[in-house]
Symmetry: C2
Subunit: 403 residues, 2 copies
Amino acid sequence: MPMPVRDLMRAINRAKIIQIIRTAGLVSRVELAAESGLSKASVTGITAELIKEGLIIEKQSGEYEGGRRPKLLGLNPDGAYVVGVNLSIMEINVVIMNLEADIIANTSQPLENRHYSVDEITELMVTTVQTCMWEGNFARDRISGVGIGVPGPVYTNSGIIRFLPNYGWENVNLRDRIEARLGLPCFIDNSSNTLAAAERWFGEGKGIDNFLVVTLLNGVGLGIVINGHIYRGAEGIAGEFGHNIIIPDGPLCRCGKKGCVESFAGMISLIRDAKAAAAAGKWQPADIEAITFDSLVAELKSNNKIIIDIFNQAGTILGRGASHLVALFNPSRIIVTGTSVKAGRHLLEPFKAALANNTPEMCGSIDDLVFVKEWTDEQWARGAGSLALQELYKSPVSELTTD
Amino acid sequence: MPMPVRDLMRAINRAKIIQIIRTAGLVSRVELAAESGLSKASVTGITAELIKEGLIIEKQSGEYEGGRRPKLLGLNPDGAYVVGVNLSIMEINVVIMNLEADIIANTSQPLENRHYSVDEITELMVTTVQTCMWEGNFARDRISGVGIGVPGPVYTNSGIIRFLPNYGWENVNLRDRIEARLGLPCFIDNSSNTLAAAERWFGEGKGIDNFLVVTLLNGVGLGIVINGHIYRGAEGIAGEFGHNIIIPDGPLCRCGKKGCVESFAGMISLIRDAKAAAAAGKWQPADIEAITFDSLVAELKSNNKIIIDIFNQAGTILGRGASHLVALFNPSRIIVTGTSVKAGRHLLEPFKAALANNTPEMCGSIDDLVFVKEWTDEQWARGAGSLALQELYKSPVSELTTD
DNA sequence: CCAATTAATTCAATTATTGAATAAACCAGC
DNA sequence: GCTGGTTTATTCAATAATTGAATTAATTGG
């Protein structure tokens, strides 16, 4: 389904204009012309089209600069809505969000600690979306698309989940099932990439073209943004940072190898180590079985040295791994996000220190290391929603094969 | 200097046509239309332009398929010539090559084992190019561009060499000096990227969009090809694979850290280890000081266990490092090239084995591992020439900022 | 030598961009 | 309150590229 070459130029320029408006926030037509390289005439035409479609609106008048005051254009927050759905070990999270990433409604569906079948998850996702739509008082036809984030590698084009460790799924096309049930365009990717999409659209990656997003979730992942696009590799499974082996005789990971980043720094691993330490009598939790990540964060707050050591080690491993990322990708920025940022300095300081210690000077600066401060569970779903936005507004330039 | 948007479409389509012709070799106008998505009318127009400019020619008639036989178009091998210049520890290598990577002339200038100044290297490069042109009986105006490869990180846009370990240079603009002297468009990049350009244009990366080129030279480097383009990162210094630390308490590397890939597997390191082993009496070379890489390859052939062990270790470290590359980039292919491939199986088998052992199954296949068989020193310069070709025929698509 | 078939070109129509001219909007100062 | 100067935005004819349809060219088999 290649776009007719004839329409390409318009599509490219439309995308260019949208992109500038999105990163600038508020911008006049004259500035758009200057920034895009297009003539004022073209900008007038394209913006008229976008306004007619409801994607952008004239928001306010700009500052007086000696003559007619510019009308500042901005995204129409209500120009489109998307649904974000994220699957994690704990729950299914659903949000409805607008073009400015405001969350209009959100619903979550807790999951039990057992293996679910594909049919069960499909059913739960669909009903949770429906509930969320009901609560947000939304009709289906106001939704432009649905983004789905899952904790495992995905072939994004076909929509097939290659492998889902939590439930032992292999080669499952969850996207098509959901799409068939909802009747809306659906996109699926692993959660690291959806979080990267969110950072690129709304977060710390806005306006930056080359950056990395390290995601500290149950596993450890990496979203790679290159030239403004999520890089997925040949088979769509790039970014398995969590399975870079750092200590060859380290703990066994669910990937089958020993000592990879995730085997130290994934939430699952942190909890495992904390439980092992408790079982060995190094500390006394109320109930070993009831240890959760949040309870460990509480232990950190109360200065439990054993737990602090576990997090320090995880941070150090992460930093050592990240030094490879710096050398290989030379990113403008590394953004660290995910549930585990809640651990705060006990994880992040050793991360930073190990990164600095293990990165040769010649590999460039590592100043731009950003830790996302606040993590709430709805960010997962927001990431998934961003994926839908990104796919919906993708510039056709990205489809051109180039040289 | 952004291209006027008006001319963009033509430029894109021209580049698209050239690209298809280059990868296909011989192709009819009808096939070009089908492949490019353009109409036959446009293809006629664009190819007429390209033929007039001498870039492509009608090479022969195609097979009879029931009607008029197609005229097959191909690159005009004499449509353009470029010069490639490579700087290594040993010598300056210069070639003149055509659009089919045939080497028309080549000249090399041995270097002494000492620090050269920028002026000296500039002078030597210019005179070597001039000698090569004389020998090839080439006039300056037949050369479209000059590519320069150097063994160190380069800011390609500005042409500034960030750092050249061999001679202790920092922030030197060699490109502008050469350009001023030769009066031809010059491009500069580190040798790993020029070798990647060569693989992309003429070698094992032809027609592949996402692959990695591991370069085993005095140091260890990495050329990263993403979406058909060399990826250079935010500051232009991506791909420092050689300085990924594998064994934190390993040998000291010239990068200042210990135990990085290069500290085991760079040619310099291999020679260092062989000399140390000789000094420790583990083997008896004729003259310790005279040990070169080629003499070590000879030792491998005569089954010197000590030397074999050194190469095995290097291969294993490379494989362990490469497993990270597979997990992070999910490349279609990994191409291994550079002087050290001359070491053959003693280096490459352990490489392959360690890669297999250290790559989790979930990170995808690693079947497509290609070792460039024959390495000759002129390949360095050919890589540099490919860089010039790549820059000269770059599609304007690559300049568009996208989303 | 003609019919059938495929390749390539020509040509008028369409469409997007553009520079220049025009219109609109706005403030300052008289 | 109105005029002048200035900046923003739109209009409009000209330009250039693509396209589908029609035409021409080339080729072989019967």
